[in-house]
């Protein structure tokens, strides 16, 4: 399959569906930050390469957010490569998050979302994750923390000096959406 065919396979379903959608949201900018705790270290990895789209139909909006695993930067190249290895980031290069929200949620100050996250070849569900919404003009900024753990994605905890990191890897979410 050449690149053009591959691109068509991905774009076609989106454009076909988009024509039937009532409204759409596009991610203007986004930051995801994971936090890892170790007895000797606290470290964070940040990615700004977040892409996302929301398609609303009949009062319900389906959102898809995606970020490349290798785009996370912790300030230490060795740690980033090790993270890429333990999360099988070359084999499963994207983290995708899917959620469905009612269209009316855009006017709320806080929402609780059920998330389906695909990462490291595994799919985990997070129920009722709280997020805060701030309306800035026609944009909506959503912030919150996903209570992710290594075991959710069957990731062996990396270790430093034979001491493994903690299982909890909370991911801070900061997304700014605008209607398309």
């Amino acid at each position: 399959m050449n690149l053009r065919t591959l691109a068509l396979c991905w774009f076609l379903p989106l454009s076909t569906f988009a024509s039937a959608a009532d409204s759409q949201w596009v991610l203007q900018q986004g930051t995801l930050t994971y936090h890892v705790s170790h007895r000797l270290h606290e470290s964070e990895g940040v990615s700004h390469e977040v892409r996302g789209k929301g398609i609303c139909h009949a009062g319900q909006c389906d959102f898809l957010i995606a970020v490349p695993v290798k785009s996370f930067d912790s300030g230490d190249s060795n740690r980033d490569l090790h993270m890429l290895q333990v999360t099988r980031g070359a084999q499963f290069p994207m983290v995708t998050v899917r959620t469905r929200l009612p269209e009316s949620a855009s006017t709320s100050a806080a929402i609780q979302a059920d998330l389906e996250i695909q990462f490291a070849g595994q799919t985990a569900q997070y129920k009722q994750v709280p997020f805060q919404l701030i309306t800035q003009g026609n944009q909506i900024r959503i912030t919150g923390t996903v209570p992710a753990t290594l075991t959710d994605f069957k990731i062996d905890p990396p270790s430093l000096l034979t001491i493994p990191v903690k299982n909890e890897i909370p991911v801070r979410v900061d997304l700014t959406w605008k209607p398309q």
Binding site: P13, R51, L64, D76, H82, V86, M94, R100, L160, L161
Partner: protein
């Protein structure tokens, strides 16, 4: 606010990422796995090496003296030999670990690698100078010439090794 039961009518927004970035690469994963395996061994061996290194430094207190042969000097030499052997095995796993193209070294690893330029030559020089000093002592001579640098070179080497270990262990 429930997850949809069916996947139909869902956006497929990851199409905006470059194909190379969003496609699985088994070869790169294998390379990453090998790199991690080798660096894990490097880390463990480094910790193990620190034990005889410390013992060698401590035993150096009894390695001097005027006598031509002492058991504490032999012990110091033996510990030094073990340290050097373990050190070069440790270094092998770091040097031979696969490099990932397009990755620039950043953070504490940069300090860790820079320190290798001090303790690496030091670990070659220290045993050579130690051997010279040992010979001179065995002949009943006072340690002189280049051999007298054995102690200072060893201290700098051990210090750089300790700093390299701490650079990737403790956040500063």
């Amino acid at each position: 606010m429930r997850l949809p039961a069916a996947r139909q009518n869902r956006p497929s927004g990851i199409s905006s990422f470059p194909v190379a970035e969003s496609q699985a690469n088994a070869r790169e994963q294998a390379l990453l796995d090998k790199r991690t395996r080798m660096l894990k061994i490097h880390q463990r061996m480094g910790l193990i090496t620190a034990v005889p290194l410390l013992a060698t430094v401590i035993s150096s207190a009894g390695a001097g003296g005027k006598s031509t042969s002492t058991s504490s000097r032999d012990l110091h030499a033996a510990l030094g030999g073990v340290t050097a052997g373990l050190y070069f095995t440790t270094a092998y796993f770091a040097i031979r670990a696969p490099k990932i193209t397009g990755t620039q070294t950043r953070g504490p690893t940069r300090v860790h690698k820079a320190l290798a330029w001090i303790h690496g030559p030091g670990m070659i020089l220290t045993p050579i100078l130690g051997e010279l000093a040992f010979d001179e002592k065995s002949k009943g001579e006072k340690v002189h010439g280049i051999a007298s640098a054995h102690g200072p070179v060893a201290i700098v080497t051990a210090g750089a090794f300790g700093a390299a270990l701490l650079s990737v262990s403790v956040k500063f």
